[in-house]
Subunit: 290 residues, 2 copies
Amino acid sequence: MVSQTGFVPNGMAGGLRSSRARLVAAVLPTLTGPVFQETVRSLNQALDERGYQLMIGQSGYDASREDVLLDAIIRRRPDGIVLTGIMHSVEGRRQLLASGIPVVETWDLTPTPIDMLVGFSHERIGEAVCHFLHSRGYRHPVLLSADDQRAGRRAAGFQRMARTLGFGSDVPTLLVPAPTTLGAGRAALAEVLASHPQTDALFCSSDMLALGVLIEAQTRGLAVPGQLAVVGLGDLDFAVNLQPALTTVRIDGTRIGRTAAQFIVDRAEGRQVNEPIVDIGFEIITRASA
Amino acid sequence: MVSQTGFVPNGMAGGLRSSRARLVAAVLPTLTGPVFQETVRSLNQALDERGYQLMIGQSGYDASREDVLLDAIIRRRPDGIVLTGIMHSVEGRRQLLASGIPVVETWDLTPTPIDMLVGFSHERIGEAVCHFLHSRGYRHPVLLSADDQRAGRRAAGFQRMARTLGFGSDVPTLLVPAPTTLGAGRAALAEVLASHPQTDALFCSSDMLALGVLIEAQTRGLAVPGQLAVVGLGDLDFAVNLQPALTTVRIDGTRIGRTAAQFIVDRAEGRQVNEPIVDIGFEIITRASA
DNA sequence: ATGAAAGCGCTAACAT
DNA sequence: ATGTTAGCGCTTTCAT
């Protein structure tokens, strides 16, 4: 009869004894920026439904801080660790492997995952968007690429497809600092128009960036897609409601979060994960802007 | 000689023994929506710098689920709990009080906080925005209000000031479901124009909603602020970059997070918090849209 | 079935 | 200064 007396059991004691913390850690590059929100939300929800809690850590862009963060996480002996992006640091991989904690890398693909993986190919997104723009008749695309590794690989995929399809020369690329913002999109379009006036299509690293481009285009009286086609990335909830509606690359962030939660809970509860590497793919959502 | 052997101490054991989890829990109404992002980011950063980690819980809009969440949080014996919004549930208050864990309520004011408080007055925001619009000569404002309590109090403050200033009648109010979205803003403007064609100013519950209004206005060829003034809330990073730049209510989310972290760490480390109730105020940022 | 006892891995108090 | 020990509050195991 432990009820009504206000007694709440001590989870640390229970976790220590049973070595089941009922806690999952997620490592995000940044808490700002809406890109991973859907993933975090669905991860949190799926874990919550199963009685686990989510702890978040922000890795930032500094690799040395990442090791400190990993240490703090491993200390708590979570039942699993979800990484957004793949772990590149050798020391980080070693720590994670040595800890024996189930790890899910997400939002990317690699032939050498630490443990489990739920992602998609950034190269193939770049290729697909390039092919899409080419098939629509655009011949002078420019890339607005965030300065992170995944965006870089999308840009590389785009370039490769551009060569295959016989575009005249290399596709001009403008790097914007991650996390991308609406303001950066506006500034970037201004710069592109100045340096590459014949540009007829823009592939933006994020929907937010694309929104900035749309606003700058509108301000300048530039018709979209008539004079400039715009493609975003993410299919955030606002994309469909922009004017013109934004053509973008849809990534099922909800599925990433849900699957990662499932994998970790399965492992935590002693079940084997049969297919621990999942490519969830992507989809180009064709709307009015390109 | 514990180094290089890959040894990582068990934080649960340490936490159990020392009753210092070095963990802080934050309760958010929703992880989607950019409104609390700045607060969470700065909270996480400030805690991180002091060696604490952040655990997040999503309360959603269901009060019964909130009690379950609180239970799960209290189990872990965090060093502090940060609530976004004030705790209304009597049972929740009881649980929190009984746990003895330092609590910081945020983003609101109340004469009866559970423990500590870092917020601002929603009523006064409503009053201030109403006064601002009136002083600029607008006489037919409409409120686009989210259907949550804080937005409701802003709306009430606006109404009260409208009566004081002698507006003709009650200010029409359109309720949109929280969390607010760009699409909801577009739809809401359409509805307002149909039902209240003489409207000359709109106070939106969030910058995202305001952005939707701006886009719908642009689509309809409605001049902002010439034919319709628009005021947002939040001063999110994109507000200054909109076309026209958005007049909005700035709330220093960073300061809220930082202060809450400071309060909790002070308490956790045995220091007394001298002024545990802080009104951080707000500021109307006048730009082009109103 | 029910109850008693051991012990998870630390930290803090105590004894040298 | 250094080493030793007790015990945080549970869960699990073992004995009844």
